[in-house]
């Protein structure tokens, strides 16, 4: 790809971030919020930085605004001891768990870590009895393209015959976006998929293409959402991985697929 204009050195994938989110149906209260501290203590060896989160509550009463702050969980960060780069960020708060991977280590490690940390959290907070609203996985791929001395060419990055590419954008120049979403039913589970493709470009900056792929499980089978269900989590993760790979294989040009080592 370097020969034709991309210059993303030392890339072996284009995944800038991968995130997994569990959203509870309601807020955690009382004892469970208190137990968050024991979760943080148990995970202390794996996360070098920890920060208490505060939530800001604003009340509006007859034109008067009052605000109060309250404890809303923890944010933990796992950093590379050699250089301080943040590899993982884990947010556990009143309404959700967010596991954000900033230095993608490959699928098996990514999934393994999520299952491991969720299991620790579940054990401490007894989340198997806390109703869940949804679980979702977010993949963010970004490509930066130095357009020095050459014209933007959509075909270099994307497969123009892909079902995810609209014919309209193929002749519209370097700035465009294409957002789409659809529902899928699989094994009695309902999934909402969003595929948001967008570009950004200023003349004095590299051209940026972002592929945001979100796979959310909104409804489960029997009782699957009555509490945090690790089987559902595992299978939802696998589906997200499979679907993301399949989508990128359709969406990207052959050259790009090889460049990022998508199937290697």
């Amino acid at each position: 790809m370097k020969d034709i204009g991309f210059d993303r050195s030392d890339a072996n994938h284009s995944l800038a971030e991968a995130t997994f989110v569990v959203a509870y149906a309601g807020d955690l209260e009382g004892a469970r919020m208190d137990k968050l501290n024991t979760v943080v203590d148990e995970l202390a060896g794996e996360f070098s930085l920890r920060q208490k989160n505060q939530s800001l509550n604003v009340s509006l009463t007859q034109g008067k605004a009052e605000s109060t702050e309250s404890f809303n969980g923890w944010t933990l960060e796992n950093t590379d001891p050699e250089n301080g780069v943040i590899q993982w960020r884990l947010v556990i708060d009143r309404s959700r768990i967010v596991i954000n991977c900033l230095e993608y280590p490959g699928w098996s490690t990514f999934k393994e870590q999520i299952i491991k940390w969720l299991s620790v959290i579940q054990a401490h907070l007894s989340l198997e009895s806390v109703p869940v609203n949804e679980v979702g996985t977010v993949f963010t791929d970004r490509f930066y393209w130095s357009l020095k001395g050459e014209q933007y060419n959509l075909e270099k990055l994307f497969n123009l015959d892909s079902e995810y590419i609209s014919a309209n954008i193929t002749s519209k120049g370097p700035l465009w976006h294409l957002f789409q979403g659809w529902i899928e039913i699989e094994d009695n589970r309902e999934f909402l998929q969003n595929l948001n493709l967008s570009t950004q470009w200023d003349v004095d900056k590299p051209h940026k293409t972002e592929i945001l792929h979100i796979i959310r499980c909104l409804k489960g089978g029997d009782e699957e959402f009555s509490g945090l269900n690790m089987k559902l989590v595992s299978e939802a993760l696998d589906k997200a991985h499979t679907d993301n790979k399949k989508t990128l294989n359709s969406l990207l040009s052959k050259e790009t697929i090889e460049f990022i080592g998508l199937n290697s």
């Binding site: 991309f6 210059d7 993303r8 050195s9 030392d10 800038a16 971030e17 995130t19 989110v21 959203a23 930085l49 920060q51 989160n53 505060q54 939530s55 800001l56 509550n57 604003v58 509006l60 009463t61 007859q62 944010t75 590379d80 250089n83 301080g84 780069v85 943040i86 960020r89 309404s95 959700r96 967010v98 900033l102 609203n133 949804e134 979702g136 977010v138 970004r142 930066y144 393209w145 130095s146 020095k148 700035l175 976006h177 957002f179 979403g181 909402l192 969003n194 948001n196 967008s198 570009t199 950004q200 470009w201 200023d202 004095d204 900056k205 590299p206 972002e210 945001l212 979100i214 959310r216």
Partner: protein, 204 residues
């Protein structure tokens, strides 16, 4: 420039859009005026619209997604803010380093990342400086690196234009162009944290 935020962000649309987008994104409880707002907008406040939609927003997961695509308002950034290093600043720095790699050789990328995450207001300047330098036909390549001042221990981000000519007229032209169009207009923001230099290819 982007086409995405202006059409995607529902907050730029109707009053209903603004309210539903904001309530979906922030842990803010509207107490007494909830009924009034709901009556005005026809949408649930403090929760999510009951309408089924395939849009990415309007959910707790959507909230996280909004943060990832940098659409979250600064007010909410404060709520989620870190005292030592704001997550949004770190993400911006990370994206900047990735973007820098497309126009420059980034020497010790982790160092540059940490520096920019702690000086996130310089991300835009660093990227512009490296890109504009790289766009010049008389510059062979651009190197971005962090240097430490031995006396003050302060760190700076150096953007070096590597040239192969020994013609100092060319050097002066590059210097004048970069200083005049990028660095001087940003001097108040920069405060000498980003430094531009020119080096001969044989000396690098």
């Amino acid at each position: 420039m982007t086409t995405a935020t202006s059409t995607y962000h529902p907050g730029l649309g109707s009053v209903e859009g603004i309210l539903s987008a904001n309530t979906a994104k922030m842990d803010v409880e509207y107490l007494a005026d909830r009924d009034l707002i709901e009556a005005m907008t026809g949408s649930a406040v403090g929760g999510f619209s009951s309408s089924r939609t395939t849009l990415a927003i309007r959910s707790s997961v959507g909230d996280q997604i909004e943060k990832l695509v940098n659409l979250i308002p600064s007010f909410a950034k404060d709520i989620y803010g870190f005292s030592h290093r704001a997550p949004e600043n770190y993400l911006e720095a990370k994206n900047t380093v990735d973007a820098l790699k497309s126009v420059a050789i980034v020497s010790s990328a982790p160092k540059v990342l940490i520096f920019l995450s702690e000086n996130a207001d310089l991300c835009d300047l660093a990227l512009k400086l490296a890109t504009v330098t790289n766009n010049r036909t008389d510059v062979d390549r651009v190197i971005v690196e962090i240097e430490q001042d031995p006396e003050s221990d302060e760190h700076s981000l150096f953007v070096t234009a590597v040239v192969s000519t020994e013609d100092f007229t060319t050097w002066d032209a590059i210097d004048e162009h970069i200083l005049g169009t990028i660095l001087e207009p940003s001097a108040a923001i920069n405060r000498a944290r980003v430094v531009f230099s020119i080096a001969h290819a044989e000396s690098v």
